[in-house]
């Protein structure tokens, strides 16, 4: 395999197509796909392997061995054994957790006429290529071994021992657990994340790879190969932006566990309109409102979400209902049709009706909003939440004073009502770094950046003076206003050395708490710093000694 074109060029990627795709369903034009990928997608090589889905050993002959090989496999179905496939990938130097398998059978060939199937296959493969090119590699912590679902004679003879699924791992250098952040631990529906000392540990046996912790982390410190925000951003951007801008495209987030249901329906010819492009996630509960809105800013005509058809193990259904509810309320408030974001039914019979009924093209409003040139860099990163919203508001020409209160708003605005002593407890409790305590020579200031606030509410109970109010509101002025001072207080200085003691409000508060104590003690504490209190002349009362 050749190296990439140069520095900054996307890594070389091989797309391997199963030759059987030609004869499946309505078939597709494989040579057109090959030519188009060569011409349109940078750094891509295309190979075709006979019977790839049943004999994955063919990959070794099609792909030159090279460390860090990026691979996309175009498969006939999703019914393949990971335990059979993964060893072949490892032997050619590919990381199995970074290889993208595209079920072209279900998502292109089986349910669409040849022409449409070919077009869909091109776009889906381009999306998968972008996704694997954004893959940052996996670590040993990211693999969870599983016993094969079926242990039969063949698996024993071929030593198909174990299969592996990706699990999240914490990037310790980014994690704020040492500063009290517990967002991932609280978000995990399976209690699989535990705090151990200054680290978060994953109990792999409990983890179902739902991915909820990935988007709960305000610091992008949870690493889940295959479902990293940067990878999914790249995939969605490519799905929406690759190829001719002939008609609006829409994104359908699909729960991984529902993929077999879609495959079954596709075999019966039931599917969504051809301009709806699937993005599989481990659980739709991991998809935050910012991702749904982010798709719109990348040019999606609409966004759909398809939760588990079976009972959701992760409680993702409720989470995504809330997220969709918030997004739809926001779109309405911005003057848009709220059906640009849709939640599909989980009942299979209802799904059979709902899938083909998804709007093939948008209404007049959607057409006018439709954009094909994404200008926002990876919008799924946690730090991009506010920018996504501001971009959307800009597209809708929303008033800068626009504000929408919503009980489930993922954005919040913190206010300090009264009694703040600038103790900094709120800043210490804030996991996202939205609240901070800044010291300057003359004063101490509590500052707030609404763009970072996740409305988690940790600051409210942390305040000893009950001075914090959190409003769950999406407020454009606050989101675009940067960091602002919420409360500022002058520093009281030591009468002896001039060093700061605490803020004046804090000193007053302590004096009030010491009401009834000897005035000398109160005076000492209120007027001298900790160092000077201990070094004052012996005649000065020493309130902290045993003798006193």
């Amino acid at each position: 395999m050749m190296d990439g074109a140069g520095p900054g060029a996307p890594p070389d990627t091989t797309v391997v197509l199963c030759a059987n795709l030609d004869t499946l369903g309505h078939g597709l034009d494989r040579s057109e796909i090959q030519n188009w990928l060569h011409a349109s997608v940078p750094s891509v090589h295309v190979r075709v392997v006979a019977d790839l889905c049943r004999r994955p050993s063919g990959i070794a002959r099609a792909v030159d061995t090279e460390a860090n090989a990026r691979l996309v496999l175009g498969m006939c179905s999703g019914n393949h054994s990971r335990a059979d496939l993964q060893p072949h990938l490892r032997r050619i130097g590919a990381d199995p957790l970074g290889v993208e398998l595209v079920n072209l059978g279900a998502y292109a060939v089986r349910a669409y006429p040849r022409r449409q199937a070919t077009e869909r296959a091109k776009i889906l493969l381009a999306g998968a290529v972008a996704k694997v090119q954004a893959f940052q590699g996996s670590r040993p912590e990211n693999s969870k071994p599983l016993m094969p679902a079926v242990v039969n004679r063949r698996s024993l003879l071929t030593l198909s021992l174990l299969e592996y699924q990706p699990v999240p791992a914490i990037q310790t250098e980014r994690c704020h657990v040492d500063r009290g952040c517990r967002q991932c631990v609280r978000a995990c529906p399976h209690e699989a994340l535990l705090v151990e000392g200054d680290a978060i540990r994953l109990e792999k046996a409990r983890c179902t790879t739902c991915g909820v912790c990935v988007t709960a982390c305000p610091h992008d410190a949870v690493d889940l190969p295959g479902y990293a925000p940067a990878q999914l951003s790249a995939q969605v951007a490519a799905l929406l932006g690759t190829g001719p801008a002939d008609r609006p495209r829409s994104i359908l987030f699909i729960c991984r566990d529902t993929a077999p249901v879609l495959e079954r329906l596709a075999r019966r010819g039931i599917s969504c309109p051809a301009n709806w492009l699937p993005v599989e996630v481990p659980c739709v509960g991991m998809v935050p409102p910012a991702w749904l809105l982010g798709c719109l800013t990348l040019g999606a005509a609409a966004v759909g979400v398809l939760p588990c058809v079976d009972r959701c193990r992760s409680g993702g259904r409720r989470t995504i209902e809330e997220g969709v509810g918030y997004c739809r309320a926001l779109l309405r408030a911005l003057g848009e049709l709220d059906d640009r974001i849709t939640l599909l039914p989980t009942d299979e019979q209802q799904l059979i009706e709902a899938l083909p009924a998804l709007p093939a093209t948008g209404g007049a409003v959607r057409e006018s909003r439709h954009r094909r040139t994404p200008t926002l860099a990876p919008p799924f990163a946690t730090g991009m939440r506010a920018q996504v919203l501001l971009r959307l508001a800009e597209e809708y020409r929303a008033d800068r004073a626009f504000a929408m209160a919503h009980p489930l708003s993922p954005f919040g605005v913190v206010e300090i009502s009264r009694g703040c002593t600038t103790c900094g407890a709120c800043a210490a409790a804030c996991p996202a770094g939205a609240l901070a305590l800044e010291h300057r020579p003359e004063d101490a200031t509590v500052t707030f950046d609404a763009a970072l606030c996740t409305a988690c509410g940790e600051c409210v109970p942390a305040c000893p003076e009950a001075s914090i109010v959190l409003r769950r509101v999406t407020d454009l002025a606050c989101l675009s206003g940067g960091r602002v001072a919420l409360y500022r207080d002058r520093l009281a200085r030591c009468r002896s050395c001039g060093q700061p003691i605490a803020s004046e409000a804090m000193v007053k508060r302590i004096a009030a708490l010491l009401e009834g104590q000897p005035a000398a003690i109160v005076g000492l504490i209120a007027q001298y710093c900790a160092d000077c209190r201990t070094t004052l002349s012996p005649s000065t009362p020493a309130p902290y000694t045993d003798a006193h």
Partner: protein
């Protein structure tokens, strides 16, 4: 069915795990000529099993290690010795002893070593005086895991499931309390101190292997226990 499948799988893996632990243990000892020759020979043999080891997630760093050893020249051997001295022996950049990776308040140096000595003694083992390594040296802990996996392999070959499960539980305890707890930190330090060196490859492969082994042992014990409780329920159901 589940139980027999799991037994078949894990019993096949035990000899490989034993060989890997022995190899890693030897790699962390001073690489004199004899030891290096032995290690190279072993790695050559293990390389023949690539088709099988590729089925396990630690294969990529494992393969990198075996290939590195395959290409080790005489000149390379001298460099390896030099690197070993610098990293682990003389005023070591990365001291390979568990006590130094344990929070001071919990240990103070001797407690870990004392616990390990007792642990080895309970298994009928004592440190050979010729080894000149303390009980918490990485090589000694890896060698102890090699011992346990050998016991396990023997139990499987005798068809003694209960004994094998007992040994597996011991392996799990040892990994949780010792190797898996501190080896990742040692591996990180080696990779930082000499990212391009031979021992970065060794540390990476050992780290991947130890983490995998912990996951594997957890998985097997969980599966066996689930199967046992299923069997128990079936028996109770049949009796009822």
């Amino acid at each position: 069915v589940v139980r027999s499948g799991v037994v078949e799988i894990i019993s096949r893996l035990a000899p490989l795990r034993h060989a890997a632990y022995r190899l890693f243990a030897a790699l962390f000892l001073y690489p004199d000529d004899d030891r290096l020759a032995g290690v190279l020979e072993t790695s050559g043999v293990l390389r023949r099993y690539d088709a099988s080891t590729a089925r396990l997630a630690f294969f990529p760093p494992w393969q990198r290690l075996l290939i590195t050893m395959e290409h080790l020249s005489l000149d390379g051997a001298a460099k390896v010795r030099e690197e070993h001295m610098r990293l682990f022996l003389v005023n070591p950049v990365v001291p390979p002893y568990e006590s130094l990776y344990t929070p001071a308040q919990a240990d103070g140096g001797g407690i870990v070593a004392a616990r390990l000595t007792r642990e080895y003694a309970d298994s009928g083992l004592a440190l050979a005086p010729s080894l000149a390594e303390p009980p918490d040296a990485v090589a000694v802990e890896l060698e102890f895991m090699a011992f346990l996996t050998e016991q396990e392999a023997r139990a499987w070959s005798h068809g003694s499931l209960d004994e094998a499960v007992q040994v597996l539980a011991h392996e799990q305890r040892f990994l949780v309390q010792h190797l898996d707890r501190w080896f990742p930190a040692l591996a990180r330090r080696v990779r930082t101190a000499a990212p391009e060196g031979f021992y970065a490859t060794v540390a990476e492969a050992t780290d991947a292997f130890v983490r995998h082994d912990r996951d594997l042992v957890d998985l097997v014990l969980m599966t066996v226990r689930m199967a046992e409780s299923l069997d128990g329920r079936r028996t109770a159901g049949a009796a009822g």
